[in-house]
């Protein structure tokens, strides 16, 4: 695993996780190993209760091109005996899923800055965040259904939360990729901004929420975002 594949830094009280794993953050076994270690560190840092929020972004042009289907298939095949013997989905899956879904339960706002491809399990990192700021070049989607499987790391549950049953049905069942503009239309993305503008906008949003002095919880996220827009801060 490349030691610099996941870098956690601090920017004015905001945690920044930059993903710069090989293959445009192609989610191989090595990626997941690094990702889980980085998220375990985020979980530890979150307990310090001193952070205004967190930004997740890709270090290169792309947020993440998603899982390597071949290695996913290989890994899952190895897990099937455990599934058959226990009747439960495997322990390894639950551990991996935790490091996606826990983002939504963090006590501060998590914003994914979506650039380039944000696909499959990459998109599941974004939807497990409270907010998504998409740059205009982004291409987004949950194409798992086109491979005969489905998104299992929170992709379906969070798509319903953010875009409603109406659009989650389309996103998850069709598996089609969509543009940043389309993501903005059906509110998958909170906002669509120009190239290179996502990070500063994410900081503005987090700073606004922090400035209210109010406790942040996931169920208040959309309300905070509405109030942020009402400030007219651009």
């Amino acid at each position: 695993m490349n030691e610099k594949a996941f870098v956690i830094t601090e920017d004015d009280g905001i945690l920044v996780l930059t993903m710069q794993s090989e293959g445009n953050n192609l989610m191989t076994a090595s990626f997941f190993e690094g990702y889980e270690a980085a998220m375990a560190e985020v979980e530890r840092l979150a307990s310090e209760k001193k952070w205004k929020g967190m930004i997740i972004c890709g270090g290169g042009r792309h947020f993440s091109v998603g899982a390597d289907v071949e290695s996913l298939s290989e890994r899952s095949s190895k897990e099937l005996p455990e599934l058959r013997s226990t009747g439960q989905s495997p322990e390894g899956h639950h551990r991996q899923k935790h490091f996606f879904t826990f983002l939504y339960d963090l006590p501060f706002p998590v914003v994914s800055v979506v650039t380039g491809f944000c696909i499959g399990s990459g998109s599941e990192i974004a939807v497990n965040s409270h907010f998504r700021i998409a740059e205009k070049n982004a291409r987004i989607g949950q194409p798992e259904s086109t491979f005969g499987i489905l998104p299992a790391l929170g992709g379906i549950a969070r798509s319903i939360t953010h875009t409603g049953m109406q659009n989650a049905f389309d996103i998850v069942v069709s598996g089609e990729l969509f543009s940043a503009e389309r993501a903005g239309e059906f509110l998958w993305a909170n906002e669509v901004v120009g190239k290179k503008a996502g990070f500063s906008r994410a900081k503005q949003l987090i700073n606004f929420i922090s400035s209210t002095g109010e406790e942040f919880t996931a169920d208040k996220a959309a309300g905070f975002y509405r109030r942020f827009l009402e400030t007219g801060e651009v």
Binding site: L80, A152, A157, Q166
Partner: protein, 191 residues
């Protein structure tokens, strides 16, 4: 009322009232998605039919070229609403059902009362080929290439949200993923 099966969904035409659909429910089969063309349908529904629709194990889709003709109460019984035009915000309610159907941000936008149309409430279809044909094409496109078994698992995950909320969907996703992966592995070993 005419019931026609397509790949992955059942299409209902000529339905004059939702009560008729309820009365004929045993003829609907076990498709994971039901599309109801509603342009000739009356704008009323009994409590019994509403409860059945809300509890349906399949994804329910209503297609109405003029969505504004129907009450929010009737439209919101369906998981998916296809229309020739958006639904007026003034006719919709910012309730928990709206939040579930349209998402958190759409709910906030409707609550704020600053939008002309109800965000995410209706997927507006282009009517170049005629509205009813466009509704069928929309579902054909979404279901294309999916087996009935895969569609049932996918829609089952979505429907888990109705009764069990987010936690139920998270659990259904995991179980569904391994069920589909087991199917794929068996298919590959058969080849």
């Amino acid at each position: 009322m005419i019931i026609q099966n397509h790949n992955g969904f059942t299409e209902i035409t000529g339905c004059k009232a939702l009560g008729e659909l309820y009365a004929e429910r045993d003829r609907l089969g076990d498709m994971p998605v039901i599309l109801v063309h509603a342009d000739d349908m009356e704008n009323s529904v009994s409590e019994e039919t509403a409860a059945w629709l809300m509890d349906a194990p399949f994804i329910t889709v209503i297609a109405a070229e003029n969505t504004g003709r129907f009450s929010y109460g009737l439209m919101s019984l369906f998981d998916v609403r296809l229309g020739g035009n958006p639904y007026p915000a003034a006719s919709a309610d910012a309730d928990e059902r709206y939040r579930f159907l349209c998402g958190d941000t759409a709910y906030e936008m409707l609550s704020a009362g600053k939008t002309e149309n109800a965000p995410n409430f209706v997927t507006v279809l282009s009517d170049e080929e005629g509205f009813s044909a466009a509704a069928v094409s929309y579902l054909e496109h979404i279901c294309s290439g999916r087996t009935s078994g895969q569609l049932s698992i996918l829609t089952g995950c979505l429907k888990a949200a109705v009764k069990g909320g987010t936690e139920a969907v998270l659990s259904a996703e995991s179980n569904g993923f391994y069920a589909l992966m087991a199917q794929k592995t068996e298919e590959q070993s058969d080849e």
